[in-house]
Symmetry: C2
Subunit: 203 residues, 2 copies
């Protein structure tokens, strides 16, 4: 049974995680200050260290509990749609509908963390790799579904296309972040869209 007390504690923890995710998106993990997170979450230091043993533990928790969700929220509609290949093309053509302006400004929170922390901390690295692997597998399976339902040519290797899509998106998000404007995103994915359209079978 879950007590009132545990409920309250859980919401405190969630609040810390949410604020931490924001701060990390803005400043990166290492340059995010616990003190600043405490201030913004209106939480005392004692409270924070009651919920998280170290700053590293906070980082892991943000990945495990917050960012995996973020990724699922973004991609599940696309992957489970009627025609995933078309959905991917739609997303690349209308990124505004899928990416909020925070993401354009600060990039993909998962990829940011990957770039900063993977060479430095195996715990971050393995968690992020798991997310990427799952992403790739799901996208590949969705594309295979397109092939089976006759919406995508069977000559293409679904796995290879999936990896290409992911690489282009990661690259384009990074470049758009640097340009600080979303038009760059479409500019850099246009080549991919043209390629994907050649794989489509229109019934």
């Amino acid at each position: 049974m879950i007590t009132e007390r545990e409920l309250q504690a859980g919401s405190t923890r969630s609040k810390i995680l949410a604020i931490a995710a924001e701060e990390i998106l803005r400043n990166g993990f290492q340059s995010s200050s616990i003190g600043e997170i405490l201030k913004k979450a209106c939480v005392s230091k004692g409270c924070f260290y009651h919920h998280f043993n170290t700053k590293q533990a906070l980082g892991y928790a943000v990945l495990d509990e917050s960012l995996t969700q973020t990724k699922t929220q973004m991609w599940k509609p696309i992957l489970t749609s009627e025609n995933p290949l078309q959905s991917v093309i739609n997303m690349l053509n209308n990124p505004d509908q899928y990416l909020d302006c925070e993401t354009v400004k600060h990039g993909c929170p998962i990829n940011n963390l990957a770039q900063e922390m993977s060479p430095l901390d195996e715990g971050f690295r393995s968690r992020i790799e798991a997310i990427y692997t799952e992403w790739k597998i799901q996208l590949s399976e969705s594309l295979q579904r397109c092939q089976n339902s006759g919406e995508m040519i069977k000559e293409a290797n679904a796995d290879e296309i999936a990896t290409l899509v992911i690489a282009v998106i990661q690259g384009a998000v990074g470049i758009a972040k640097n340009a600080q404007q979303p038009t760059s995103f479409t500019e850099y994915t246009q080549g991919l869209v043209n390629y994907l359209q050649k794989l489509q079978i229109h019934n």
Copy 2:
């Protein structure tokens, strides 16, 4: 006239820049400590602040004087080669010959800095954007040269292909960095290679 004194000072400055570039590649800009750079460069604090007014100024100098060179060293041979399209394909197929293991581990130094600093500091952002823009233009021109010399089909849009190549490379370097192994790089660029080969005209 350049005095012996200025020569010595220049070499001190260069030493600081080289060490700083290494440290920034490893830890990022914000998490690189000036103290650590001083220690590794065997240089006093007074000396450092004689050459660079602030940490920010050091970061700008690393971009302007060190990383632009790094980029040129890497790409000039490819861009000015007989058949740039083929050279790009070669590079994607044999990244080991072009990327050292430090780059695989820590990623592209320019892109790292972009992802970390572009949203936070306009000086970093604009410098990096200039490098990217130059890169894209040069690559596009090289591909046009391929089209003119009959090594690449003219139906393709050189500019669009250039941006696609850059996006995929950035994405793949990032993913390889996360996986911490260079095989990921070729895995994620394979789709692009197949695409590029379709653009080739073999005489």
